[in-house]
């Protein structure tokens, strides 16, 4: 079956993205597995999302396109590192799988989940939110232009309406 994650991977590869830096999350499973299985892409597991912010800048310096895949809790880890992106006007694209929002069953996830958009916007990252499979494709098309043509920083939030709320 071809779902939105498979289409998204094809869209990202079609846009010339070759580096997929990630901290794993169930919401990114298909993207990560696809990158790991792709001989012409690099899947880079990180120890913390902070490294991913810097790696995307390094990829840009080297003329490559990259994306950072993380969970909303990882956004909090990245805050200060986003100074590099904002200050240097680096193109920056991240997909954030949300926790702590629609239907969340783990109370520990709420503080960062509820702050995710505010934190990103406070650091100069433009936030798009995808609630449906159609949203993912539309946001991706828009973001690819904003990031790689206009050198903006864009986060696409994959909402819990889209990926499902976790009971824990």
């Amino acid at each position: 079956m071809t779902g939105w994650p498979e289409i998204l991977y094809a869209d990202l590869r079609g846009a010339g993205i070759t580096q997929f830096a990630y901290v794993p999350d169930a919401g990114h499973r298909v993207l990560i597995d696809s990158a790991l299985a792709d001989p012409e892409a690099y899947a880079i597991p990180l120890t913390t999302e902070e490294e991913g912010v810097a790696m995307l800048a390094g990829a840009d310096l080297g003329g490559s396109r990259a994306v950072l895949l993380m969970q909303s809790s990882g956004v909090g880890n990245c805050i200060n590192m986003l100074s590099l992106i904002n200050g240097g006007r680096f193109p920056f694209l991240t997909y954030v799988s949300m926790r702590g929002t629609f239907g969340e069953g783990n109370p520990w996830q709420f503080p960062m989940g509820q702050a995710t958009r505010k934190v990103l916007e406070a650091m100069g990252v433009i936030v798009l939110e995808a609630d449906t499979a159609e949203d993912v494709a539309a946001c991706t098309k828009a973001a690819l232009t904003m990031v790689f043509q206009s050198e903006q920083a864009v986060a696409i939030l994959l909402s819990q309406r889209l990926i499902g709320a976790k009971a824990f």
């Binding site: 902070e50 912010v53 390094g58 310096l61």
Partner: protein, 208 residues
């Protein structure tokens, strides 16, 4: 031969050297348009003082980002040598990046850790390396088997020659005195990015 196996493996056993002198020695060896990513602080200032190479990127933002920037660049440009210069305070902030580099194992990456054991730029407060942490031991534990201390200037040059010629990733750690930089870099991050990218050809020259 296990690379660097004949080099000092502990921090206590090596000579305390000059950051500017070692940086100049390293830069003098860069004949193949190798890219250098300088870490925040005095590491960058002495890189700046070692010559205005077009292929230098000066990371003046958050501590600890020189190594992951260099990793992204090394993956993007596998034919180009990439060098990350990072201070001990900075590398201590992103020790996980050593494990990330080890797991990715880019052949074209050299990390040089400039260890003076202090946060020199904020007044010389001791870092964890000044209190006993050993970056080479940490790097080896993270999986970077080609990691060692430079015993003295001569050893540093030999190690740099090997790292620039043979498959990495490499990590060379050096111990430094308390000498402060004489000059500082330009600051504008957009200009630094653009100058670097034009220098290595990933952004077209102005007007072309």
């Amino acid at each position: 031969m296990t690379a660097f196996s004949n080099r000092p493996q502990t921090r206590d056993s090596v000579k305390i050297m000059s950051r500017l002198d070692l940086t100049k020695r390293l830069v003098a060896k860069l004949h193949k348009h190798e890219a250098v990513i300088g870490g925040i602080g005095n590491t960058n200032f002495d890189l700046w003082a070692s010559g205005r190479r077009a292929e230098n990127f000066y990371m003046l933002g958050s501590m600890g980002l020189a190594v992951p920037i260099a990793l992204g660049l090394a993956i993007a440009q596998p034919e180009r040598g990439v060098i990350a210069l990072e201070g001990d305070g900075s590398i201590l902030m992103q020790l996980g990046s050593l494990a990330t580099v080890a797991s990715r194992a880019p052949k074209n990456l050299l990390i040089v850790v400039m260890d003076n054991g202090t946060y020199q730029i904020t007044g010389g407060q001791p870092t964890a390396t000044g209190l006993g942490a050993d970056i080479v031991a940490i790097a080896k534990g993270a999986g970077l088997s080609q990691a060692a201390w430079a015993a003295d200037e001569g050893h540093f040059e030999e190690m740099a020659d090997q790292a620039l010629a043979e498959p990495g990733p490499w990590l060379i750690a050096v111990r430094l005195d308390a000498e402060k930089p004489k000059i500082q870099t330009t600051r504008d991050p957009v200009q630094i990015r653009s100058h670097f990218m034009r220098g290595i050809g990933t952004q077209p020259a102005w007007g072309s």
